[in-house]
Amino acid sequence: MKKTIALAVAVCTLLSGCGQRGSIYSNYRETEHLQLVQALGADTWEDGGVTLSVSCAKPQKSASGGIISRSGESIPAAMSSLQKYSADQQLYYSHAEYVLMGEDYARNSADALFDYIARDNQLRLGLYLFVVKKGEAKELVTGPGEESYEISKTLSSIHRDTEAQGSSHVFTARETLRNMSEHRAALICALRSRNTEDVVFLLEPGITAVAEGYGILKDGRLVGFVESDISQAANLVMGNLGSAGLSLPDGRGGRLSLEYEGGSTKIKPQWASDGSLAAIDVEAKLTANLAEPDTDMEHVTDKALLSKLEEALGRDMESRLGKLFELCREHNADFLGLMGHLRADNGEKAAALSEDWLEKVQFKVSCKAEISYTREMGDRMSRKGGQ
């Protein structure tokens, strides 16, 4: 028994990594020697490779600092090059939260990055993906060179705000990979680099990132964008409609501000007698709040005026949905997962559809909108009625 215990202790000691020299476990790393990568940017390198830029959680005051950018022929080669410039710290990717791609890289080589994320042992599938519209990821990751600038904080804020407002949705690598595996297409949150001059006054002018709709991925590469005004329609179809605002004509020559409250869509395929797909019916339901009602509350009390406003809201969303499905058709990319609805309706007929079914199908879009009041307005109404 003593021999057994001695053997077990010896094995555990050898495996533990205690004392770097004595251990046979070669993968041992001291925490203080790690630089935790939080954001990773990928851009096209002029020689056909990739430029990787990393922003680490705790910038060290070493020669290279916590923000490094290096190029290589492949992702592992660029990572290896990054490591060389990271002084005595080891770049640790296991806790990376954000991956950004420059537009050019996303159009030409995004599939290589997705493949790397799926197979790599360190990177998580739960990390958030972005594409930088008309720009490079390096610009956003490295920033203006200010000590206070951290892209991960900016992206965290964008993530929180876009989810709350419903202006966009930040997809994880897992969601993107899943959508691409199942539908060969996916959406990815698009960012744009903006100069903060004349916008932010307390700090030094620099750059920041703002969310701007979605990028459309097909077969692992970027093929186009869903503009911000259409992204609400995409959110509605995906069930992520937040509380974004919009402005509509009030029917009396002015404009009224509304805020989306919720909505849903029903997607029903119409099959022809020969088994082909005749059309797809998209029935949307939408509710919104009056964000800034007129002072005399006429839009609340006048049912006819309210009905006109609801019709206008419905037409507005129909127009956005129409443009969204036109994008699906234009790129022949099922980034909304429409095939899932077809399979659920009739698996055999869906399986028999040709590759270019999206280019041929007709979309019949309808939207029924309803405008509700907030409690505060209800109180104002009752007070008004009381007077």
Partner: protein, 356 residues
């Protein structure tokens, strides 16, 4: 044998913990590859044949006789012992595969670049005391480890629920029927490894107890079902097939209240207990069988078996394709031949000769 006694509860605990090793290795990849999104139905479909297998084993092992006795009674002493010896050799080879696949799991998920031989040799050394010890020690270890592994499984299922999307999962078609049957056989084949414990039946002081094994089967099928549903819900069928060890990839992405994350190395290390139990139990069975055939010292046989298994593991291909070939083709085929071919045939001969 006289001193090495265990009760039925301990034996079932050992069977449970040991089987968590192939369950996490094979499911859901091997099911989803064949039957796609419908693979979540494979475990419920496998329930009936698994229950029939338990009833068959209960009938065969009636009166506390072990499988060794069954072979000798049915086929005669010489032919019976030849069969027992062949099964033992197969079990040593199977043990080698357990070491190889455990090492591959470590190096492909949590310890990239680590030398697999290190894991193989150290695992074999760590399992040696268990394999050359007693059945009762093995079973007591299983009783201690079982709640820990169950708690980990429960936590994984709960924390992965928020990422699950079951859209399109329940759309079934007629053409799913045959692949589903194939997948359910995979479930049955994987769980049927428990039949090898029939060789240790003589060490158990209690009757077979069909009801207890039914509960055992229900829990393992439920775990299989949860693993399938979680992976399908989080990754979808197509991505699940592409991923290496989807269950452990699921663990990799779990974050507990944004405070704890990247726990996969810990969970993978915990699964070493299941591998160790699986390895030690089968090697123990093999050593007992060889002692039955030749009367050699079982501790020496266990040590030699460990060395042989480690040697076999080192000789096996270590890449994804090689491990996949053994995991999905060679090992399941070998087990199927013994459990669904040799064993029923032996039982049939025994019943026809009125020896059983």
């Amino acid at each position: 044998m006289g001193q090495d006694k265990l009760n039925r509860r301990q034996m079932i605990a050992a069977a449970f913990v040991a089987l968590l090793s192939p369950v996490a290795r094979r499911f859901p990849s091997s099911l989803v590859t064949v039957s796609g999104t419908a693979s979540y139905l494979a475990a419920p479909i496998a329930a009936l044949p698994l229950l029939l297998l338990i009833v068959f084993m209960a009938r065969l092992l009636r009166g506390g006789r072990g499988l060794g006795e069954v072979f000798e009674l049915s086929l005669g002493r010489v032919l019976g012992r030849i069969c027992i010896f062949i099964i033992s050799i197969w079990l040593v080879f199977y043990c080698g595969f357990i070491l190889r696949s455990a090492a591959y799991r470590f190096s492909s998920t949590a310890y990239p670049g680590a030398a697999p031989w290190l894991f193989i040799v150290l695992s074999a050394l760590a399992c040696l005391p268990l394999a050359s010890g007693s059945y009762s020690a093995l079973a007591r270890t299983a009783v201690l480890i079982r709640p820990l592994l169950l708690a980990v499984l429960g936590a994984v299922f709960i924390f992965s629920l928020s990422d699950c999307d079951f859209t399109g999962l329940f759309a079934l078609e007629e053409r799913d029927a045959l692949p589903l049957l194939q997948s359910s056989f995979t479930v049955l084949n994987t769980l049927s490894v428990v039949c090898y414990l029939g060789f240790a039946e003589g060490h158990c002081g209690e009757e077979f107890g069909i009801r207890r094994y039914f509960i055992w089967a229900f829990v393992l099928l439920a775990i299989t079902e949860f693993i399938c549903l979680s992976c399908l819900g989080v990754f979808g069928a197509e991505l699940t097939v592409k991923l290496n060890y989807p269950f452990f990839m699921l663990v990799r992405d779990i974050s507990i209240f944004n405070s704890f994350s990247r726990m996969e190395a810990l969970v993978i290390a915990l699964w070493m207990f299941a591998d160790a139990l699986h390895f030690s139990l089968l090697l123990h069975v093999a050593a007992g069988n060889i002692r039955r055939c030749f009367g050699w010292d079982s501790k020496l046989i266990a040590a030699s078996g460990c060395a042989l298994a480690a040697g076999a593991a080192l000789a096996m291909p270590g890449d994804m394709l090689g491990v996949g070939l053994f995991s999905e083709k060679i090992v399941p085929f070998g087990n199927a031949v013994i459990i669904f071919g040799l064993l029923p045939l032996t039982a049939l001969v025994g019943w026809l000769r009125r020896k059983l």
